[in-house]
């Protein structure tokens, strides 16, 4: 029963025009960043690194594919999760809006399985979008700008040789995917709670902003503080610290995955307990 439900959810998702608008929006943002970098990137980079050039010698151009990949990776902060949350929450809110959830629940279908299919669909869509973003950026960024050393400013300027930069970008994409899965799972659960599309979009955007705000907050929880969900959603950024704390990042990613499962389980519990209609 799960496979037909999952197939049906994916079929509906890809027949909805808003899904394709979301895909187009993500690709358009990527394209605009690349165009802006092509025409203005070198000038901005020169301004930023002018002082350093008096003390250091840089080999090759710093406006390269790796830097562009890093810039596009930064869309994981807000615009990409927001778009993904809007599409994911619609998996449930559109059913409420069109009255199709009632029709679904009037068939021989289990509530728990239906909701599980929706969470899985949201996860599959998120993975596909990240893959698309990663693949298209790799092709375009390397195709237009070539490879080279990566310079990143995270409180201090960190330099990574081209090969090391590529590895770290790949790992950051993988870790960022877990953050995106967390946000989209939250948005589906918000959809179950709020039912209306517009309310859910606002709540999703609010959750995203709140997570960003709480990222820098200090709750005085000592070593436990790092396991607060908001602190876990930016693990991907830590791949660009000069000293790579791989084990800590891995633990944080596992913790975030546990949060994701808990949010999904909570959503499924709520849905099965709720009346429909």
């Amino acid at each position: 029963m799960m496979i037909p439900l999952l197939k049906a959810e994916l079929f509906k998702l890809f027949r909805e025009s808003k899904t394709w608008y979301a895909v187009a929006a993500v690709l358009l943002i990527e394209f605009i960043i690349l165009i802006a970098a092509y025409f203005q990137g070198a000038t901005i980079l020169e301004l930023l690194l002018d002082n350093l050039r008096q003390s250091f010698y840089f080999e090759g151009t710093l406006l390269n594919g790796n830097l562009l990949l890093y810039i596009i990776l930064n869309s994981l902060w807000f615009n990409l999760p927001l778009i993904l949350m809007i599409v994911s929450s619609a998996l449930i809110t559109e059913e409420y809006k069109n009255g199709t959830l009632k029709t679904l629940m009037l068939q021989a279908v289990s509530k728990r399985k239906l909701m599980l299919a929706k969470y899985l669909t949201s996860a599959i869509f998120t993975l596909l979008m990240l893959l698309l973003l990663m693949a298209s950026t790799f092709v375009l960024a390397y195709g237009i700008f070539g490879s080279g050393d990566l310079v990143v400013y995270l409180g201090t300027l960190n330099f990574f040789p081209a090969e090391e930069a590529f590895k770290r970008i790949l790992m950051a994409f993988a870790s960022g995917t877990l953050s995106m899965l967390f946000f989209t799972t939250v948005s589906v659960t918000l959809g179950i709670l709020l039912k209306e599309p517009a309310k859910t979009w606002i709540a999703s955007a609010f959750f995203l902003i709140l997570s960003s705000l709480l990222l820098k907050a200090d709750f005085g929880l000592g070593s436990m503080e790092r396991f607060f969900f908001a602190k876990l959603t930016n693990s991907w950024q830590r791949f660009f610290d000069y000293e790579l704390q791989l084990q800590e990042i891995l633990i944080d990613n596992i913790a975030l995955t546990v949060y994701t499962f808990l949010v999904a389980l909570g959503g499924m519990y709520l849905f099965t307990k709720q009346d429909v209609g």
């Binding site: 909805e16 009632k102 679904l104 068939q107 021989a108 279908v109 009346d275």
Partner: protein, 283 residues
């Protein structure tokens, strides 16, 4: 086949259902008549398992994977899919036959054209109702529950939907139809429940119930307004038409007197309002 016993449900706004009991039998069409807000939809949602009652029980004797097929309020359809795609999607998720022949049979059964390929957002309410019924019939349920299926339909649509409901009942499906319009239920139902403020206030075989409550009739016939035998009962008279109230005399006796007087009666239409039906028979 279905026995609902003393169902009650309250929301913050107050009690919506108060100890409602109903029964459905195979091949019979039952009607649930009541004003808007009387509790019809809540009762249907409880019968279909969408809403949990505060108290009471629903017993269903069925071996089907889907014992009840239903269309509650407006049919919920995916507006961006066409009729066939909607039907196929709902069939696939519940492992009902989803091959082209089976699905086209469902569409034909409810009288939907097979050549409409456009999204259902373009469909009329009547066509959406029919597709809703086709989806409800997937997986061969023993019972069919239709909530206000006549709303938004033109007279032709109402007539053909009544015909469809009767055809389905002939296939031994137990049917429960709700409406706030009496004429439609009168034409289609074998048994009638009247619900008001969350309570079943009257019930019985449709004709018996109506006969017990109807006292106003509209008669037409050539110069019938001049018939002396009708004068004690006349409420309203026009050329060739009179409306009479014969509360304490059987209509058959009144008609006999009129015929004996030499007037021809071309038609005799009972007039009954929902308000009359809401008054309990034993009150």
């Amino acid at each position: 086949m279905l026995n609902a016993i003393k169902l009650s449900k309250s929301y913050k706004s107050g009690k919506v259902l108060d100890a409602v009991s109903i029964a459905l039998e195979p091949g019979k069409i039952s009607g649930l008549l009541g004003r808007n807000g009387a509790g019809k939809t809540t009762l249907f949602k409880i019968l279909c398992g969408l809403v949990t009652p505060d108290s009471g029980e629903v017993h269903i004797a069925s071996k089907q994977a889907k014992p009840i097929g239903a269309v509650i309020e407006e049919p919920g359809l995916y507006p961006y899919l066409n009729a066939y795609e909607n039907l196929k999607l709902f069939a696939q998720i519940q492992a009902a036959p989803a091959d082209r022949t089976s699905l086209e049979n469902y569409l034909t059964q409810v009288g939907l054209p097979l050549d409409r390929k456009d999204p259902v957002r373009n469909f009329s309410m009547g066509m959406k109702q029919r597709l809703g019924i086709a989806i409800a019939l997937l997986n061969a349920p023993d019972m069919l529950i239709l909530d206000e299926p006549f709303s938004g339909l033109d007279p032709t649509g109402v007539a053909s939907l009544i015909q469809l409901i009767k055809t389905l009942a002939q296939q031994n499906i137990a049917i429960l139809v709700s409406s706030h319009l009496m004429a439609e239920l009168q034409k289609s139902c074998d048994y009638l429940y009247v619900i008001d403020q969350g309570k079943i206030v009257n019930e019985g075989p449709t004709q018996t119930l109506l006969n017990a409550l109807i006292s106003v009739y509209t008669l037409t016939g050539t110069a019938i307004e001049k018939a002396q035998s009708l004068q004690p009962y006349v409420l309203h008279a026009e050329t060739n038409t009179v409306t009479i109230n014969c509360e304490h005399v059987p209509i058959s006796a009144v008609l006999r007197s009129t015929l004996e007087e030499g007037y021809e009666v071309h038609s005799c239409v009972p007039n009954i309002s929902l308000e009359q039906l809401i008054i309990p028979l034993n009150a």
